[in-house]
Amino acid sequence: MSAPNDITQDSGAPTSALLASQEPQTPFEYVGAALRRIRSGEIGALPIILGLVIIGIIFQSLNQNFLTPRNLVNITIQMAGYATIAYGMVFILLLGEIDLSVGYVSAVGGVMTAILLRDSLTNPALSWMDWWNVIPIALAITTAIGFLHGTLITTFQLPSFIVTLAGLLAWNGVVLMIVGDGGTVNIQNPVVRNLASEVLPPIWSWIVIFAFVALLTVMEFATASARRKAGLRPKPVQIILAQTVIMGVVGAFLAYLFNINRALGPTAPPQQGMPVIAVIMLVFLIVLTYLAERTRFGRYIYAVGGNKEAARRAGIRVERIRVLGFMVSGFMAGVGGIVLASRLKSVATDTGGGNLLLYVIAAAVIGGTSLFGGRGKVYSAILGALVVSSVENGMGLLNVSSGVKFVVTGLVLLAAVVIDAISRRSQQRSGLR
């Protein structure tokens, strides 16, 4: 009756050893448990890392510029817009919802920023506007849009698919109206212009990455020692150290990479250091991961996506959590819109269109966030965006025709949902006794 999987086995006779056990886990046991989790469908980042290796090999063999420091930094910058919007999409997917409006909501954020900064130059009444108040205004607007979508969905019990589809059309219209018949609007404010192209002095690459690795390591050790004190099994020290070494090596490699002069041609000024945009992605990664995994709010997001009824019976205000989820999505779409506008240093009537929505959903799903709710991590946005951008970047390098681009992008998306479905199935298999 029961599968030969030892997690799920009920041995009739209670053997009290396991839960009460206070012996520290050996590294071997820890790895064993991790492998078991993978087999039961919690595959985590595994397929992506594999996919990235394959992408790297394929494109590098076709064009030797792909794995150059310069191009790897290019990918980092090119993925920023997708990653920031996809962070918000992760929260939506965790809730078991979908937000089809993020492309044009991001455009509202970018276009509002560009238009308000332009008007601050022409309209004396608006001369008080500058980047530091225009950006919050734009983000407040996109957050309010998320609030509107969420409120409509929860108040009238509408499917989010339909409401945000309506949003997709309506906000596209709003973008067209705000941009007006000028066609394109240049952004002149130096801070917003340079947001996506500014780099930190080289020493900061080391400082930022060291701080990141140190923070994670200190937290791991603190948790382990607190667990030991509480009589719970801590994560083995050897595993924490191994993690730190791996992160340290990867981090050092990244810092080294960022600090190689990647200027194009002898005439260009030297270019080295970590892009500011990478730091922004990292900060959002930390803040949003904290929100999702360490707070009640994040816990409730998972709970609502896992079992709405259970969440309701536990006293969680389900509708409020859903509205808040859409507000996170609106906020992050706004951030992404500003990043994209900064990349292009202008906005136009086509802002927010094209493949943006598709790439954002693909990024979240490729990264391992389930379309079916309740399963996923914030970091999946950044990993997925890395995959999407690598493919886009590589094909740009290869000079391939648009037909090939469409086919390849389609295949990558397909691969993502197939992986999602497979991991879901194996989880169900191991879940249902």
Binding site: G81, G183, V185, R343, N393
Partner: protein, 309 residues
Amino acid sequence: MLLPDSASSARWEADDRRFFEGAFEAAGVEYTIVNAEGSAQTQLTQAEQAITNGAKVILMVNLDSASGAAIIELARANGVAIIDYDRLTIEGPGADFYVSFDNESVGRLQGEGLVAAVEAAGLEAPVNVAVLNGSPTDNNATLFKNGYESVITAQFDSGAWVRVADQSVPDWDNQQALVIFEQMLTDAAGDIDAAVAANDGLAGSVIAALQNQGLPFIPVTGQDATVGGIQNILAGRQSMTVYKAIKAEAEAAAALAVALLKGEDTASLVTGAVNKVSVTKDNIAETVIADGFRTWEEICVGEFAQYCP
């Protein structure tokens, strides 16, 4: 009046609609203007409704040649005159009239503009040139390409120019164009001396990519005479844009429609291609400004004011 969509270009809703409204109001005729929002099926339904409502003349921007032909047959069967506007319906019996810019000559202007700009910049052979085409699914993008290729192919053949990259931009998407051009730069190790960009949006992507890399500006073409494009021309970041006098095109088509409606002689109206002009730094005032298509107020904002007269 059947418009195609509001995504492929801002002009249909932003420009054509107001110019047609103005012309029809002035002529005192009854009219409706509808937009099919990208759906050929919707456009066919809209044509049927227009005929049911007693339309005598239909102006159509088709979504594709086949669906356009179906609408022409429908109009003909009901004795309604039909005018192809901006896009030619190649298939089927053909419309009664066709009013448009000549898109190939738009492309030729871009080609000529780039040749002149490269010369003016004093670039020495071999000049590395990248080409950013419009959307692969837009027939007009193909026509533009035919146009500029007819001019610049000779440069490549003579060895004066070298084609370092040539890619289409899906949906004319500026963000994708930015990535594509960044990758062109990467592949060419930054050594791109000039670029064909099929419109101002794509030109903006080229400019942003160069700025992001700290590279100097290069000769680059454009189209549509957008505010951003003209600002870039003034600041010396973009070489030229093609100003298609949409107003003139719309008014010519409207005049033709009114004449058909009133049963007047149309022969005098058929005069050939409508204006389109290559706009460079030197003739902004005489073209887009003089036409009322753009104003100095919307262009001369902030840092760009210093370049204005």
